[in-house]
Symmetry: C2
Subunit: 137 residues, 2 copies
């Protein structure tokens, strides 16, 4: 009851951002990632790395295509593999900088899930952008 009273008062009083139609450039934006415990598990950059590994068949070629160091790319793959219940990237060993690398089914599922989430996030952001300054719930 107290809460309801407060909300009504706030809604009546709040003029929103004072956004007029001519300020249509205002929009809600954001970034999304998936954490495991306190560590980043999947992010936009990591997912692109996974896709490049699928495309190029090796971590070093994938890293080069993103202008990322091999060392960093390898560390990201290792981190993802450690955090996931099953590895996302199968890293072949042998030779300088190891052999090839390929995505596992879990890696493919991670990519699909991340992009689905990113798409839902884009829709959410677009909806919130439209509501901006309208004081709507």
């Amino acid at each position: 009851m107290v809460h309801r009273h407060r909300r009504q008062k706030t809604e009546r009083r709040t003029p929103g951002l004072g956004v007029s139609p001519h300020l249509a450039g205002l929009r809600v934006s954001g970034r999304l990632w998936i954490e495991s415990g306190d560590e980043t598990f999947l992010s936009w950059g990591r997912i692109v790395l996974l896709e490049r590994i699928r495309e190029h068949g090796s971590i070093s070629a994938a890293a080069r295509s993103m202008e990322m160091s091999y060392r960093h790319a390898w560390a990201l793959c290792d981190a993802m593999n450690q955090l996931a219940p099953k590895p996302l990237v199968e890293m072949a060993t042998g030779g300088h900088r190891g052999g090839g690398a390929k995505l596992t089914a879990t890696g493919e599922a991670a990519i699909a899930e991340f992009w689905r989430l990113a798409q839902e996030f884009r829709l959410w952001l677009a909806k919130r952008s439209l509501r901006l300054g309208k004081g709507a719930k």
Copy 2:
């Protein structure tokens, strides 16, 4: 009914992230801000700065309380004022580092709108975290 049917199908097809119950630590996380054109208009840090200005009555005291330089805090306030249809911060002039500063009604509305948005975002993230790896839409 249709909805229930669709969810069941999706769950059967999508392997998700292969997340087992023991991996409950996985969660969707993110950051949110409001842009005007290509520039940041409101962000978590800017909103806290506005709140500190309300609390301390001056940009310099607000900046000090956040361990932010006065120069940076002033630039952020100036940017917000320029991007908004009406100023968020009323900056009194006169004296070294100007006089006091206070929030306008538009500034108060911006704070309220941002936190409401942030709260909606938290709920959205929590819901998506629960769905993670379940392949649900």
